[in-house]
Amino acid sequence: MKELYPWRRPVKIPLPSSVKPQLIRHFSIGLLYPVTEELKEARVKAGLDAIPPTAHRYHEAVDDIQKIVKAMGIDKKMGLDMEKMEYKFK
């Protein structure tokens, strides 16, 4: 391909700014929204456990998601440092 199209290069398509923080939350807590003190209170009043039985309670699910994301190499494609949870490209 390079012989045919010498100027063709891979390009970095910027992630939409509205998606960037969502992906950081997804990969750091497993879900898009955290559990707040107000929520814990409302959940108990609703007759539920204060912490939902999702990745919020089971942190090993977050570890699993991070391992899978790294195995797929999408963190590098997005320029996301999974240790610092920061984007390389602003």
Partner: protein, 306 residues
């Protein structure tokens, strides 16, 4: 009657009772505890064997990942589906967005051994494996088909309120439109009147938010709110957590920015079902974390079941 319904009806006398794991998604457990509680308290009363789908993560958002990287969508969806598979249960979802993500991913993986093999290579990084041996069912299908619309019509106490409904775009996933029909019929079975407002099919604006928040707020959500407020209704009924998320955010933003007040409470179908089957609103936390005060609505609901 859909093909799926016909098959289930034919199998009914001998088929084992389905067991479900409730996939909560991101929004229901953190923004709508009243909906989660209403579902988990009411379904067992209707004979549905339901537990939580534990260790769940974001579905993930189909609108983002299907178009960006199919492998990510299939693998992260599988991570959720395999939790139910390990528990020997099918998946039940209330959010239309999560339903589309998980249903479509499961369909691809059941029909394509190549995709399933690739997904399992990535899941192995976390020591996991998925065989694609679960079904993904919408809450509306569980209520309408498993419990049975006739039973609900017969047993449910009619609630003397008038409501508007918002089905949501992803409820139209099937060509035969059965999910929308189920939503209409179930709501009609529970309340005095479903009031048409003309913009039922309009999108809540959630996906448009990613590109243009002003458009999503003023040309989508607010147009719906304006149309609904022209009618005398006690509540706006939804089942989709994604649509709820958009409505909640937009209502707060319009109130702060424009002093615009959408005072029609946005509620979940399961809350109506819960009250209709004798569960008190305070038992599922109906008063807390609401977009609008619900005291008048609760009074009407409680008077209906006295």
């Amino acid at each position: 009657m859909t093909e799926q319904t016909t098959v289930q009806a034919a199998m009914a006398p001998t088929a084992p009772k389905p067991k479900y794991a409730h996939f909560l998604g991101c929004v229901m457990p953190t923004r709508m505890p009243w909906a989660e509680s209403a579902i988990m308290k009411t379904l067992p009363r209707l004979g549905v064997d339901i537990t939580y789908l534990e260790k769940s993560t974001c579905c993930p958002r189909a609108g983002v990942w299907i178009s960006v990287d199919k492998r990510v969508w299939l693998t992260l969806a599988s991570y959720n589906l395999l939790q139910a598979e390990q528990a020997g249960r099918d998946v039940m979802v209330s959010c239309n967005g999560c339903y589309v993500t998980l249903y479509e991913a499961n369909k691809v993986l059941r029909e394509s051994p190549k995709d399933l093999e690739e997904v399992n290579q990535y899941l192995a990084a976390a020591g996991k494996h998925y065989d694609a041996n679960v079904r993904v069912r919408h809450l509306l299908e569980v209520l309408y088909e498993d419990v049975g619309i006739e039973r609900i019509r017969r047993e449910a106490k009619k609630l003397h309120i008038k409501v508007a409904i918002h089905p949501g775009c992803h409820m139209r996933i099937f060509q035969d439109g059965h999910l929308v029909r189920y939503f209409n019929e179930l709501t009609e079975a529970l309340v005095d009147e479903v009031v048409p407002y003309g913009l039922e099919r309009m999108c809540c604006g959630l996906q448009a938010n990613l590109a243009d928040r002003e458009f999503a707020t003023y040309d989508r959500a607010k147009r719906k709110f304006d149309a609904i407020q022209e009618h005398d209704v006690d509540a706006l009924v939804i089942v989709c957590s994604g649509c709820y998320d958009q409505f909640e955010r937009t209502i707060a933003s319009l109130r702060k920015k424009d002093n615009y007040n959408f005072d029609v409470p946005v509620i979940h179908l399961a809350e109506l079902l819960a009250v209709s089957y004798g569960i008190k609103p305070d038992d599922f936390g109906m008063r807390y974390m609401r977009t609008a005060p619900v005291d008048k609505l609760i009074e009407k609901l409680e008077n209906s079941v006295k």
